[in-house]
Symmetry: C2
Subunit: 175 residues, 2 copies
């Protein structure tokens, strides 16, 4: 019931035809949407069906991860954002992202994914703008991420800067 | 009392002359240290005097940050590590680092600092190894950080890899 609670009590609904407009405008439309309208809904509700999320990650070719760890990561993230395609009573998870944070200075964004069927429609941009807005509302000023080479330009268009002042992203992996 | 509780109940004490030896050895020494011995103590206790921490950050030239936000960041970090120089009953904060995490997959290390008087003695390496060990004990496999250009080599020597497979660290700042 987590999703529907989110959908009707505190949703951010975006008509897919209007997704490129200013977010404030799209938020205003959430009450007026007709039941048969194809809508895109953004939510910060963490009660996401883990199998829905796995299916979404499968669709973009990510390696499977233990669901109990995925659940733990979601519960311990600072913000979790999901994007849903809603038509009438049916809904489909089409996007996801989350961020870890110290709740004060820094946030790091992980697991940004849009279903291949929904890519190239501006939805990834809408998802990221929504996440950035939520982080800014919490007064987080240093928003970071680690971008695969093929999505660096996507994040640049959102205002992310690669290696600012020579700062390098570094990874440590177990042997 | 947080520090002393940590020091005597669950400390990781490193004799400064032995800091380059294997961590397991140094941990074994924590009970046997004499009261007049100059010791280096690592702790995960979060009860750090914020003015001590500010003084440490001042010493390396970092910009000052509001203490209430520093405190919030410490409380919401996944792990906080402090390093102390202890002689008899006196102690001095000489090192600090912390990490945010989703408690499952990823951790990001922030605010790594060693007092200038204590640099070039292997203490930064000891601090980082201790932090990595703590993260690994929590089954975190993806340990990340954003390194200023001048410390990239330091982290490389610890096993951190810069931009693995073309992954880029990216930052978003408010306008």
């Amino acid at each position: 019931m987590g999703f529907w609670k989110s959908l009707f009590s505190n949703p951010d609904t975006v008509s897919s035809s209007e997704k490129t407009k200013k977010e404030e405008e799209t938020l205003d439309r959430r009450i007026g949407a007709r039941a048969d309208e194809n809508r895109i809904v953004l939510s910060t509700d963490r009660e996401i069906d883990l199998y829905d999320l796995e299916q979404l990650c499968d669709a973009v070719g990510w390696s499977r991860r233990p669901l109990h760890k995925v659940n733990k990561a979601i519960q311990h993230s600072f913000i979790v954002v999901s994007m849903w395609e809603v038509r009438g009573a049916s809904k489909r998870l089409i996007g996801f992202a989350r961020a870890t944070s110290d709740c004060a200075f820094n946030a790091t964004i992980w697991d940004v994914v849009i279903h291949p069927d929904s890519q190239s429609k501006g939805l990834g941009k809408a998802l990221m703008k929504y996440l950035i807005k939520k982080l800014r509302r919490e007064d987080i000023s240093n928003i970071t991420l680690f971008a695969d080479a093929q999505v660096v330009e996507f994040y640049q268009r959102l205002g992310f800067i690669e290696d600012p002042e020579g700062i390098k992203g570094m990874f440590w992996y177990p042997d």
